[in-house]
Symmetry: D2
Subunit: 285 residues, 4 copies
């Protein structure tokens, strides 16, 4: 992490074979371009090679990215995703009534901490409408009830598509997204869960933690999948509690944890530092 230049970032993975580091770096070198940072990982058990490589292109970035993609895919037989550091993807923030992650995330976007653009806010309540307007961010109030969930999700999908959203962040959004929604939206969805998963999955994790008498509470940012609270974990952290702390104290202490864990996950994702494989993440940080 250093000052930003115009770079191409590629995330590759596929079966390991000798010479991958050499072939990738030589392609870039012979193109006259300069590697800014490269990191790789091998899953020894699965024999899978993972690489993140970031470089300053020598010519037209889009053309060079496309050529590299063809090379990696066709000649090395690997899967690849590519991003240009100058293209900041549009992000949608989903929120309900609880507002700490909402404010924190918006302020970080405003401060330039994230390589993305906060394009819109979608909420099943109108509580945060006035705040969103003060921040100058479009706010869409779409109530979700048991009886209108399918049509509400349709409307969400329509809005997201119209806006050109490439990533959704769930800032304590208190509705479960349907498997169908996740399939159709076809973009990464980052959720923040207020426990150290896999402990205390599901509802009311602070109440569960208080009941069990644990000495640390946690927060977990993960990609949402069709199975609640079981998606690939991006980042986790914990904070210490003691017997004096009521559930209300846990909720207060947890807010700080949720904010920082959520922010770190959004940053890593928008910096193209995360590869998902086998329901786990490789995080090149």
């Amino acid at each position: 992490m250093s000052e930003k230049k115009e770079t191409i970032v590629a995330l590759l993975h596929g079966p390991d074979q000798p010479g991958l580091v050499s072939q990738v770096s030589s392609w870039i070198f012979h193109r006259g371009s300069n590697i800014f940072h490269a990191d790789q990982h091998k899953d020894e058990a699965a024999n899978i090679f993972f690489q993140r490589v970031e470089w300053s292109p020598s010519g037209d970035p889009k053309k060079e990215a496309a050529d590299f993609k063809a090379f990696v895919h066709d000649e090395l037989g690997m899967e690849i995703s590519l991003a240009l550091s100058t293209e900041h993807p549009k992000v949608a923030l989903f929120v309900s009534k609880i507002d700490h992650c909402f404010h924190d995330t918006i302020l970080r976007f405003r401060a330039g901490e994230f390589a993305g653009e906060l394009a819109c806010i979608i909420s099943n309540h109108d509580h945060l409408k006035a705040d969103a307007e003060k921040y100058g961010i479009p706010f869409h109030y779409l109530p979700v009830k048991a009886e209108n969930k399918a049509s509400a999700e349709e409307e969400q999908l329509r809005l997201l598509q119209k806006t050109g959203v490439k990533c959704i962040v769930l800032a304590r959004y208190m509705q479960v997204l349907s498997a169908r929604f996740l399939t159709e939206v076809a973009c990464p969805v980052i959720n923040i869960h207020h426990s150290f998963l896999p402990a205390f999955a599901g509802g009311k994790p602070y109440h569960q933690a208080h009941q069990r008498g644990v000495k640390l509470i946690g927060a977990t940012a993960h990609y949402a999948t069709a199975t609640l609270d079981e998606g690939p974990i991006i980042h986790q952290d914990v904070t210490r509690i003691n017997h004096r702390n009521s559930v209300a104290d846990l909720i207060r202490k947890g807010r700080d944890l949720e904010k920082s864990v959520f922010a770190q996950a959004i940053r890593l994702h928008l910096d193209n530092r995360i590869l998902v494989y086998n329901n786990k993440t490789v995080v090149f940080d």
Copy 2:
């Protein structure tokens, strides 16, 4: 925590009522004794009052402790346990083959970190016999198999009673203690589990953690109960891992965590800082 004087430590709990702090402290004051430290806690939901009070007695410590016990029990209607700081209870260490908690705990006893006396080591293997002898601590090799478990536990109980053991610490002892053993031994048993409970209870927690892709691993010290890995939690801590870490790395990193969490739990217990209530601990630290 400061330099040690001869003190009495009392741990009380019972239904809350007005004036408990006043009545307890006044009893000690009017006895001519001096409170060294006092801490109390109320469980608001259950309306239970907990207190740890430590004082320098004005007369014969045993007599003063007995009188205080009668006062608290008979006049305040509370449960109480008492200890004299000059009486260091005998502790038995149970171990199998894995030796990091074994060495660490013994060296801490030797360094005077714990207010107890390491009286004996009991193991279901003879791997650590030579090391125990170098440390000069009696080592009892008692193999435990499925077919002799009951008689092996009988032998353990006989040894513990003969030695006068008041506390057992399980330094990665790889046998489950039977409910019957726990009932008959009738003393606290502290276990170290190599995960952040309640996540990854049971066997091979580092393999479970690696499989799930968590970003932190933990260790939990708790009192052993008849239900495996579900006893009252005393202390927990975590350390950060990443995608590069193999199960072997988790095991290595976890060793440091297990040692420090286990030691902290033993210290708190032997300093009489822990009250158990409702399968949770109140830790006066």
Copy 3:
């Protein structure tokens, strides 16, 4: 820390003597009042006794607080400060251009995290005027230059007095307050310094840290005194960095640290949990 009741909080300190815990708790008990929480500490070397006691008064809280104050002062010969949980003191926030602690602190006041009222903002720049207005908090723009510092501080004092401010929080305020200002304002001033004091006192601590090659950066909240960065430390925390991190990365990572350390110090102060003695703090948390 639990749900709030109407309570009196007293912070006492003075030479240790036998029976202090008893005398204090008995006074409250015989008044018919009920201790909610009590904690004490002895500085063994200096023979000073410190206590924080919080109780639900039986009669008029102001009268009971005044009577208690007279008792402690006149009969026990100790210094005392008192607060009623229902009286939320007015707080002034000083800020320059850097805005992360500004937003974070305001949002925490709004969320009810602090037992105080954010009464006004004073800044030597007008950059955050619009934001302050959106939050609905009076903003006073008072430029401070070398040549007008004395008169600017006069104006600040006038404003603070008029508003009835009882505590000042310096949310990365980039001006050194004069000894004269600190004397005249006569209220606690909490500063956040962006290093782990006493390392890297003075200007540009992140540059100093980068230059020295430390592996952790820190933040320190302390009471401001006439000697820059040498006041009593309230709270500190650190975060890990590595050789890849530029000064810009340290600044970004440090922001999160500054926010949480600053907030914790403000919370502890407004909950009347801090006693200052000998340029150090006793924090009853």
Copy 4:
């Protein structure tokens, strides 16, 4: 970090130029060898390129290492150091009377945590002679006084050379090594200092920390240089303390910190993960 294979580890650094990653990886690939792990770093300000590359050689490891060294040095104009994973360098441990880092380090060597061989112990006291003998490690008692310091260091140098020591670890050795000794021994010397440097350099850091009233204490592992406590920092960590903690408590809590920070530094060094540049470390972990 994964299970160990026979590998070559190279640490390179020199002025940055395009194609370094490509040239290094291609040399290895065309040799028929396979890169196991590679990591690089650029100091943007100084325009220096750093790399750690680890690979399984295709032929005789010593020959391949020598050829690679010639290539890097002669053709790329970079400085390089090389190690074979099968060659475990001899390490000398210096100690005085304080024994926690002594035991901890020896037990970690015994447990196979470090890629080195603990060859001898040198002490200016004979307190730990019996313990060293139980561990089966040669112990050399060499008293050091003001009047014999030069000759004592001569004797140390003779012993180290005879033993073939390649690295010295100072496990709370309470003597300052002279600049002349450091020059003549010509091998890395790792020291553990019991504070968060640069805070509390010099003697009695826990007393200094207690006096200042900090809320965290630290430990720092660094390479020893002629300027006391100012060498390149390898690793640091901290732990929380409070007003209740006496200097004795700080010393006890600090022991755990010193052990783990020291061990981490020794591990990183013996795994050839550290490059020193400009009195700072690049740590490829």
